[in-house]
Symmetry: C2
Subunit: 342 residues, 2 copies
Amino acid sequence: MGRVETNGRRKRATVKDVATEAGVSRGTVSRVLNGQPYVSDEARAAIDAAIAKVGFVPNRAARSLVMQSSQAIGLIVHEPHSLFVEDPNIGSILLGANAALSDADYQLSCLIADSQRDIDRLARYLSGGLIDGVIIVSARVGDPITRAVADLGLPAAFVGHPRDIGEAAYVAIDNRAGAREITTRLAATGRSRIGMIAAALDRDSGSDRLAGFVDALGNRFDPQLVERVPFYSYSDGQAGMRALLQRSPDIDGVFASSDAVAAGALDVLRDAGRVVPDDVGVVGFDDSSWALRCDPPLSTVHQPADELGRAAARAVLAQLRGEDPQAGGRVLECPVVWRGSA
Amino acid sequence: MGRVETNGRRKRATVKDVATEAGVSRGTVSRVLNGQPYVSDEARAAIDAAIAKVGFVPNRAARSLVMQSSQAIGLIVHEPHSLFVEDPNIGSILLGANAALSDADYQLSCLIADSQRDIDRLARYLSGGLIDGVIIVSARVGDPITRAVADLGLPAAFVGHPRDIGEAAYVAIDNRAGAREITTRLAATGRSRIGMIAAALDRDSGSDRLAGFVDALGNRFDPQLVERVPFYSYSDGQAGMRALLQRSPDIDGVFASSDAVAAGALDVLRDAGRVVPDDVGVVGFDDSSWALRCDPPLSTVHQPADELGRAAARAVLAQLRGEDPQAGGRVLECPVVWRGSA
DNA sequence: CTGAAAGCGCTAACAC
DNA sequence: GTGTTAGCGCTTTCAG
């Protein structure tokens, strides 16, 4: 397999080696490699044999260079440490995107941005021609990654819908409508003092969920009952619930802006001796694995994470084929799932 | 920024454009690009200006081709769907590896293998010269990915220690010792009928944990009390516990081979009316975010996931520098963390 | 210190 | 059908 150099390191066989071995020219080898027609059966056979014999495997860097494409697309996750670990949706999105790309024989490369340094390196990496397009998950408004990708003119699709992505393709859920609906249902269980733990307001999802909450409550909305926290995390859920409880002990309903947040809230409520759903009703958002693990199981808004990933991947592929990026975006359904927590 | 072609698509500026703009040769541009000495200050200044003016950004495919290296290393996760989503350790390993690579200015690319098709494509991708080395997470014995990487002679480091990786570098924890220790402590709480939910026996971690359990119990070990399940998952934990309960209703201690498994077991025990830790003591393994969310919080074995990722990354980097792959492997400490579940 | 030229491994005209 | 020949964009001798 492969030639062996004096230094002992295996040197990889090239098209040229295959050509000599098969007694044909490089052009012909290239043709069979790319499945083009107009190659005699004997030539094809000789080449196949030669490929196997010398252990040839094409060098993608060379191919990318000449083709100006790499058959790889990136999925960028821009998250602070903890969230990436805690948020089960990201995993589902990843798997969905991978499935769709796999069908089209594209390689998915998941790139994580976890520091300013990462962002800079990532920008350089993306502009290097080793990635044909990107799926961007959880971008924030004014995200430097968004800018870099736009500057590069790289085919892209967003999961979610930050307001500043212009005409770029995106696939999202209607966070506002989902939040509105579940809040309405929570209110319908007879609660009168409904609060919200509002996380990630620097993201479209976060601010939209808050907006939906306000919509639903209308003039019964009381700003005192909204606690803002930075992340969609379990610990921020705990902190938010503690603050709410202290400020408004008469609270009898809580919309947590994610299931992880709800889980934190639930645990704080239990410690405070409140019974859910009798004393206070709690609802979440995401329908992630947290929801079923809660006690009682969480009423929440279902998020089709896997399908979000698939659709985003398809949007990037469409752009790569030169098709119109599906006129902006797609919005997927996010039905309420009613369980025992409210 | 960049030249504009007639078709409207931006064509990227090349070294040549920079050279003409700056009135020097391509060689000189390349020198400043790579921070080499022996370039006059004026030339350097002119080139820097030209780079900014034409919006030059180096093409990595071209650079990779000539340098035979890409400054990117892959992290391969070979998992069935569900697990990737449920296992918080993978996220931490990823983040740790990313941190270490980031310091060395390498790009981490996370590659997921979720089907046979993925595996084949991955093998081709890895051999393409776009990836300089790999970190392999959760490989199984006889894993095709392991074979492919070995055939390629790609610098690699494993997280975990499948028996069939030969001399390859790895970083692992002593699963057997950890399991032995926590089982011993569980027994010391006065339990006499201790069972185990043993998952992932096709992986070194899974079989080692079982071995440690057997070690600890010595002649008090009863094969009847071991239930084998496929994955380290919540649902397999539930299934395992149900089976155990039915077969041996007198069970009073359970070693679950991961925290997720333990969480499932806990919920089944609760539904069955057993009080933890009074009626039955439960311990897990991993010290992941599941552990704290359990009620009562789980006694478990701490796994330094972040550090596993970091160390694996460093091992690959060392190989890339031509240093000896640190004589096989490193084994990290995994202390028992005692909480309320036993 | 700098320019010219060769070549990394592959594909794509264009001849024959 | 197949060989030949230009490059893709970059680094790197080797002269000067």
